[in-house]
Symmetry: C2
Subunit: 334 residues, 2 copies
């Protein structure tokens, strides 16, 4: 089978690609071709695999060709991130809304010419939730909690969820939306997401660098490790429609932790000197956006799919250490 | 002040225009100019008013000019109707999604050049609700019930609600979304909406004509009379942001009636001979769409705005008779 990952050169896209290549199959069908579309070329280890092809350039310009090419499965991860969209309204509209629409229309054109509807996973986000002062979020988000997004990023994700649902209802794609929790610990450099510090406060101290935390230590967050996030995306594309349960977006599992608990886990792994690298500098804008995202989730649907959250944040820190040995430059206690 | 009504030559748009012209003011400010944009020219009585101007043509082509022109208030009613959108997917995307986006972007451009953000009422619809088999609607829809639209029309309306909310948050417009209930009794000819029969089964017998009802008599519907619907739109544009309560769409008041109760009201007004004109011919497609819309609503928000549903369906039939004397050709009992 032939798969497409948009945003395939990004952190999650590349990790998903590696996981798919290592598995070699999806739903028991052999993965012959994996196309990675992104603004940037994929990492060298991926390009070294004969099954991998790169489509490098703005996704909006590539949608028509990708649709005509035809895929058995698509993971649509490409996105401008939350803080970028707040700064540049038109960039957000173009990157997140127009591009998803163009991709869906290109896939629709292919299906309407007689091709089978591709399975399509849309990576939405916990950022669809936000606290409308007049309609506050419940303490625990359920499968049927109404999103009232408070950022353009969240609005665009929620809109695209609706498009994915309708293109699926019409049979143009076999679409499923998975709402990703905040992914921590992300390797590499900050990416402009409002949630970026939730990786930075772990990643930077482990590299012997200082980090800034713009929210209070008691702030609670719904997190998932990179491994659990990829596991969720694959489970969602492999699920039967019946198991997925309807066309409404699914909240992927979340581990609820406070920033303080994250730092306690960092201390357990790397000692209090590492935690001392983190400086609290409140940023009202970030605190409002991140603090508006819900911290606790319950989902009968994802339990039916067998998806479980990470067990604790210390295991997430250890996952990062294991996956990114070169990025950890200080002595550890474990 | 200068107002715009898109869909201003349609039934609701023209009725809203007449109401605004008769009031002469909105929020205490004199209505000097009322622009009616529609595919068709407005009715002659409206064109005879010196305050009225027509902008005739496809709205998508007019948005840029309308935005540049500048308005103090906008009622965005223009829309392709539900059955049309199910038949022609691209028409629905263009008429309901692209056109609203273009209108919002044109208003944004004007605001970004320094103009005050116009008040903007978006006419959404009860059709945003639908019963996803995996996430059935609650028996009574509340202010925070999650819409899971089951038609392209409902999807597009729900998407535009999100855009209106975000353009408002950014200060480009002062937007409010009112979800209209099924409006009955509409005069004139059927308009291609799946809900059209809910006017037809009253209107046609009163004109001595036969009518077809595609759903079972026990089907319950959330209705509003034309007068109450217009009242709701005006209350929503006049409300302060605080009274409107957040940026989430507001469900306008609904009278819950069964088709049988509607026919009983028709019998009370026009006798059993009128009801005998209605033939039941089940249509699974219409029954699925209309039957999926919720019939009962509770809303603390609209009660705070002082909005009340119609008291009973007989008064709605009498409202139709009074407003459309020439369309009632049979003897009445009242």
């Amino acid at each position: 089978m032939k798969l497409l990952i948009t945003g395939g050169a990004g952190f999650l896209g590349a990790r998903l690609a590696r996981t798919l290549l290592a598995r070699g199959q999806l739903n028991g069908r052999k993965v012959n071709t994996l196309v990675l579309a992104d603004l940037f070329p994929p990492p060298a280890d991926l390009m070294a695999d004969a099954r991998v092809q790169a489509r490098t350039g703005a996704l909006l310009d590539q949608c028509a060709a990708l649709g005509a090419e035809g895929f058995d499965g698509v993971f649509h991860l490409a996105s401008a991130v939350s803080a970028e969209c707040e700064l540049d309204f038109e960039l957000g509209l173009r990157s997140n809304l127009d591009t998803t629409r163009a991709l869906l229309d290109a896939l629709r054109a292919h299906t309407q010419q007689g091709a089978a509807a591709p399975r399509f996973v849309f990576a939405s986000s916990v950022a669809v939730f936000g606290s409308d002062p007049a309609l506050p979020l419940p303490a625990v988000v359920q499968d049927d909690t109404l999103p009232t997004p408070q950022s353009s990023y969240g609005v665009h994700k929620f809109i695209c969820e609706q498009l994915v649902s309708d293109y699926t209802r019409k049979g143009f794609i076999d679409g499923r939306t998975a709402r990703l929790m905040t992914v921590s610990v992300r390797p590499g450099r900050p990416n402009g997401a409002a949630s970026g510090f939730l990786s930075g406060i772990i990643r930077e101290p482990l590299a012997g660098l200082d980090a800034v935390c713009p929210v209070a230590p008691e702030t609670r967050i719904a997190l998932a490790s990179p491994a659990r996030t990829i596991e969720g995306l694959i489970a969602v594309i492999e699920a039967s429609r019946e198991d997925f349960g309807g066309r409404t977006a699914l909240n992927l599992p979340a581990l609820t932790v406070s920033v303080q608990q994250m730092l306690d886990a960092l201390a357990a792994v790397a000692g209090p000197e590492a935690v001392a690298r983190v400086r609290f500098e409140p940023d009202a804008g970030v605190a409002r956006m991140v603090g508006g995202w819900p911290a606790r989730f319950e989902s009968a649907r994802r339990e039916r799919l067998g998806l479980r959250p990470d067990t604790d944040f210390k295991s997430i820190v250890l996952q990062y250490v294991q996956d990114n040995p070169a990025a950890v430059t200080i002595p550890l206690r474990v």
